[in-house]
């Protein structure tokens, strides 16, 4: 029992860690495209870890499935949103930042 709680705590804290990293990435990364990377990957992993952490303490099967449903929906949502924003930026002609040209921050 104590083992499960320990694992749960570990997963929750790791999830929050990835949320923090995602936000930090949004702040530090140089252009829209790289920020989309930070957003979709780090945040979805963070949410996933939190979901799995809560899953260990779920009281019934529908509750556990609902948690997974929320995660799946969030995954699809943020992958779609990231793609749409990147495509809009590309269409608008936002040039991707490269390690060589610093002027286009």
């Amino acid at each position: 029992m104590i083992l499960i709680e320990l694992l749960q705590a570990l997963l929750l804290l790791a999830g929050v860690g990835f949320f923090l990293v995602g936000t930090l990435g949004i702040l530090r990364f140089p252009d829209v495209y790289t920020r989309v990377h930070a957003l979709t990957k780090a945040d979805n992993l963070g949410l996933g870890l939190i979901v799995f952490g809560l899953l260990l303490g779920a009281e019934s099967v529908p509750v556990a499935l609902k948690l997974l449903l929320v995660w799946g929906l969030a995954l699809i949502a943020s992958a779609t949103a990231g793609y749409l924003v990147a495509r809009a930026a590309r269409r608008r002609g936002v040039r991707p930042w490269t390690a060589r040209n610093w002027e286009n921050s």
Binding site: V21, Y33, V36, A38, K41, G48, T98
Partner: protein
């Protein structure tokens, strides 16, 4: 592989309806929890399934059930790697990025498999789908051009082809821009 969706016969329509009805009933069961009110949920799910068949014609591509666990495992492991990769880059003081946009011709048939590929690689390490050209060339933004991006996209493609049970169309090797 013909482009237009033609002449969906009646039996596949009924089959799609039943499949979607089952999925919607499961979702209703999840949403309503322990005290499911089936007298409300069943008609609702039936109406929703009818509407979905009417609005979205039956899919030409179906997931192969025995491949789902394998793909899920691949996906979970890769998204773990992706999060770790982003975390490593964000936290290192020098911010090691070398972004580049690659143009990769698609080998999967258009429709659901291509969409799945675009959504999946956005969640995999270092790749983000940006735009799909009409001539079926996908623009992929990668965080670090030093990694083997083409290889990992190709692997995802092969796994998706196995998941959907579709053949990969032969393409020339990924052209780098």
């Amino acid at each position: 592989m013909t482009e237009q969706r033609h002449a969906v016969d009646r039996s596949s329509r009924v089959g799609t309806y039943i499949l979607r009805l089952i999925i919607l009933l499961v979702i209703w069961w999840i949403l309503s929890g322990s005290h499911s009110d089936w007298w409300f949920g069943l008609p609702l799910a039936m109406a929703a399934a009818a509407a979905s068949v009417w609005l979205t014609p039956p899919a030409r591509f179906l997931l192969r059930p025995h491949q789902i666990p394998q793909f899920t495992g691949f996906f979970l492991w890769q998204s773990l790697l992706a999060g770790w990769d982003v975390a490593r880059r964000t936290l290192s003081p020098s911010l090691p990025l070398q972004p580049e946009i690659l143009r990769l011709p698609m080998a999967l048939p258009p429709g659901a498999p291509t969409w799945w590929l675009m959504l999946t690689i956005s969640l995999l390490p270092g790749t983000l789908s940006v735009r799909l050209d009409p001539d079926r060339v996908l623009e992929v933004h990668c965080l670090d051009a030093r990694l083997d991006v083409t290889g990992s996209v190709r692997e995802t493609e092969a796994r998706l082809a196995r998941l959907f049970g579709v053949p990969l169309q032969p393409t020339e090797a990924g052209a780098r821009q």
